[in-house]
């Protein structure tokens, strides 16, 4: 057992002295996480997460509802979420978005209030006009937040309008008011509705986002484990490759003629790969926590999931090693496997966007099980909720190790 551990630790040391391997193990997933974070708007001017979204407003309406919308954006409830700049010129607002100074511009056109509330003396609202949302394509997530606020406002206005129309129609049909009184009443109800929109309690995102937890879910909590798991496949295939490299460089035969049993040599090599994978995942988790303020969730459950994910991935690495004849084969197939599993396992896109049969197929990848687990933990789940992915990964590892051993036994570890 001691020799097995010594061989594993020696391999771990060698991995961390291999600059090329470190680039793939640590730098590449970190940079890809960073890049995808920028692309998906996770690193806005606030530096990460959702908050302080810069929004520029133009109120050309000047009516009750236009003012109500501006006041809502400027309300204390949304103070942490959006930073509002009010201008008069729509072109200035558009330019601000084009120049990436703002996440979105909200342009309230003239006649917006009149299009909903009949003007004084009129019995019908004016011509329909629409609020214009100019979005910044580089910040899709934050733009989505602004859109959600707008939709919430419009929804409330619409509810008020429909409610008012129904009430006035019933009063009119019951003969309780005259048509002249109906117009005045409609205007008063509209003003009250506008007041209600601004004075009501916080506009929250809970209407369109499932839960409070969803509001706090940072997309990086999906991207970072996705990249870490994808490059974990590189680590395990590269680790397996070292077995064949050692055979070629003569250190494997030298080990086999020392008083060290074959199972200790093979076990030590596997342990080295496993330790490298665990170290890689933990470093990436710590780095993303420090640099991206990413919350991975319950530390104990995260650690358990890391151990299981690396075990499952190691199974694939060993299977590949047991089948390959040359280190170059492992490098080529390992790279292909890393990308295929990355795509199939959901490292680039969520699996619920895929057809059902792809979702089933994805279960052969450690990425899929791992991402399930990490997503649950990021949403606040505990160890109990990730037992299924952990079990899936462990079963995967056991099956793959068993098959690998059959192949290793067939040709012998020295492969001569």
């Amino acid at each position: 057992m001691k020799k097995l551990l010594l061989i594993g630790l020696k391999d771990l040391k060698l991995v961390f002295r291999d600059k090329a391997a470190l680039v793939f193990m640590l730098l590449a997933p970190f940079l890809l996480t960073l890049g995808l974070g920028f692309v998906t708007g996770q690193f806005g001017s606030s530096g990460g997460g959702i908050g302080n979204i810069p929004v520029i407003l133009v109120d050309q309406d000047g009516g009750e509802l236009g003012t109500a919308l501006v006041e809502m954006f400027q309300s204390e409830d949304l103070a942490d979420l959006v930073t509002v700049t009010l201008v008069d010129d729509p072109d200035i607002a558009r330019r601000g978005v084009d120049e990436d100074q703002y996440t979105a511009a909200v342009i309230i056109p003239a006649g917006f209030t009149a299009s909903i509330l009949p003007a004084e003396g009129a019995t019908q609202p004016g011509e329909t006009v629409q609020i214009l949302l100019v979005s910044n394509p580089t910040r899709p997530t934050n733009t989505g937040v602004v859109k959600t606020i707008l939709e919430e406002f419009i929804s409330r206005v619409e509810v008020g309008r429909v409610g008012g129309t129904v009430a006035i129609t019933q009063l009119l049909s019951g003969g309780l008011i005259t048509p002249q009184q109906a117009a005045l009443l409609g205007m008063q109800m509209g003003e009250q509705q506008a007041d209600a929109v601004t004075s009501s309690t916080a506009i929250t995102l809970t209407t369109n986002i499932a839960s409070q937890a969803a509001t706090e879910f940072n997309a990086l909590a999906y991207i970072a484990p996705g990249m870490a798991l994808m490059f974990l496949m590189y680590t395990v295939s590269n680790g397996g490759r070292t077995l064949l490299v050692e055979r070629n460089q003569g250190t494997l035969p030298r080990l086999l003629i020392s008083p060290t049993a074959s199972f200790q040599v093979l076990g030590g090599k596997v342990l080295g790969v496993y330790l490298s994978g665990v170290a890689q995942m933990l470093i990436l988790i710590v780095a993303s926590t420090l640099f991206f303020q990413l919350k991975w969730g319950d530390p104990l459950a995260v650690f358990a999931l890391v151990l299981a994910a690396v075990f499952g991935a190691c199974g694939w690495g060993m299977l590949l090693t047991s089948l390959a004849r040359r280190p170059g084969q492992i490098a080529a197939i390992g790279s292909a496997m890393m990308l295929t599993f990355g795509i199939l396992g959901g490292s680039f896109m969520q699996m619920d966007m895929m057809p059902t049969w792809v979702q089933w197929l994805s279960r052969i990848t450690p990425n899929s099980w791992g991402l399930d687990g990490f997503s649950i933990l990021a949403l606040g789940g505990g160890l109990g909720l990730v037992l299924k992915p952990i079990l899936g990964l462990l079963v995967m590892g056991v099956v793959l190790f068993a098959v690998s051993l059959i192949f290793f036994n067939r040709r012998g570890i020295s492969m001569k």
Partner: protein
């Protein structure tokens, strides 16, 4: 002296290819025994079987009384191996390599630390022990490669062509270290295709060719096989046809055997001076210019030539 190694009809086949064809020999404790033969003769395959890396197809060998097939672990504790190719972790330092390999041989704690320092002194790398092996010269790497084989003070050391591809100075150092180790009581099985190395080091020599042990004995015993014959070596230019010259010289009276090697022709004769003139004349007739001539006393090269009709480096 008791035999530390006894080899009995050792055979190794790879499919239809028979790499080692039933060789038998023994090595006495304290001896330097050389296996001399050209590349591909079966030296490394023999060492691989004796060091328990490959199982023999048939036959067996005992080392220190333990069978290489039935008690490989016991054998591994007795032997040390210096493989032909470097077998080191180049991203580890010399000290880290020695510590790791020492641990694989069961050393630990103070005994490991002190043994590592001793070996570093022995191979002359104590002052550069912290540097990674990949920064070393070829000769330095060879020395670390040897050092690994010595760590656990093996009773029997296998050295498989340890001087291939290194500079003369490092080669000299390695040959001296082999003698030194032997003087300290270590038994050595040394394989080489350099006749000079076998001649300088060995108490006894086994000559191996095409997987067969074709001669075995002390140098005196072996050279006696070619009798009092001398070897006349003719060095010719690269552009000349050595084969044609050897054929042309075969008929000259007094030439017992003529063999073409790399740009040279070796003639076995009873009295080299007597055939020199007709040999030169015959070469001139053929338009082949002889650049220089060596007359060699009976040696291992001549024995190999005598037994196989080929030079060791063919």
């Amino acid at each position: 002296m008791p035999a530390i190694l006894e080899v009995h009809q050792l055979v190794k086949k790879y499919g239809d290819l028979v790499a080692v064809k039933g060789i038998s020999f023994d090595i006495q404790e304290g001896e330097i025994f050389s296996l001399l033969g050209p590349n591909g003769a079966g030296k490394t395959t023999t060492i691989s079987m004796l060091s328990t890396l490959y199982a023999p197809t048939s036959g067996d060998a005992t080392i220190g009384g333990f069978s290489v097939t039935r008690a490989p672990m016991s054998v591994r504790n007795i032997i040390g191996v210096v493989p032909q190719d470097l077998a080191l972790y180049e991203d580890l330092s010399a000290r880290e390599n020695l510590v790791f390999w020492g641990q694989m041989y069961g050393l630990s704690g103070k005994s490991l630390a002190s043994r590592v320092e001793e070996v570093l002194e022995q191979i002359g790398l104590a002052d550069r022990a912290k540097e990674r092996v990949k920064t070393y010269s070829g000769g330095m790497k060879r020395r670390v490669n040897i050092g690994v084989g010595l760590l656990h003070k093996p009773r029997l050391l296998f050295m498989d062509e340890p001087t291939v591809g290194i500079d003369p100075q490092s080669r000299r150092a390695i040959l001296d270290s082999v003698k030194q180790l032997n003087a300290q009581g270590m038994t050595v099985l040394y394989t080489t295709h350099y006749m000079e190395e076998a001649a300088e080091l060995s108490d006894r020599v086994g000559i191996i060719d095409h997987g067969e042990l074709i001669a075995l004995g002390t140098q005196e015993e072996l050279t006696h096989q070619v009798g009092e014959n001398e070897t006349l070596v003719l060095h010719i230019g690269e552009e000349e046809d050595a084969e044609a010259l050897a054929k042309a010289l075969t008929g000259i009276p007094g030439v017992l055997q003529a063999t073409a090697n790399d740009h040279q022709v070796s003639l076995i004769t009873r009295q080299a001076e007597e055939i020199l003139a007709p040999v030169v004349m015959r070469a001139n007739e053929r338009g082949i210019r002889i650049r220089s001539v060596d007359i060699q006393e009976p040696n291992l090269e001549a024995v190999f030539l005598h037994l196989t009709g080929r030079g060791l480096r063919n």
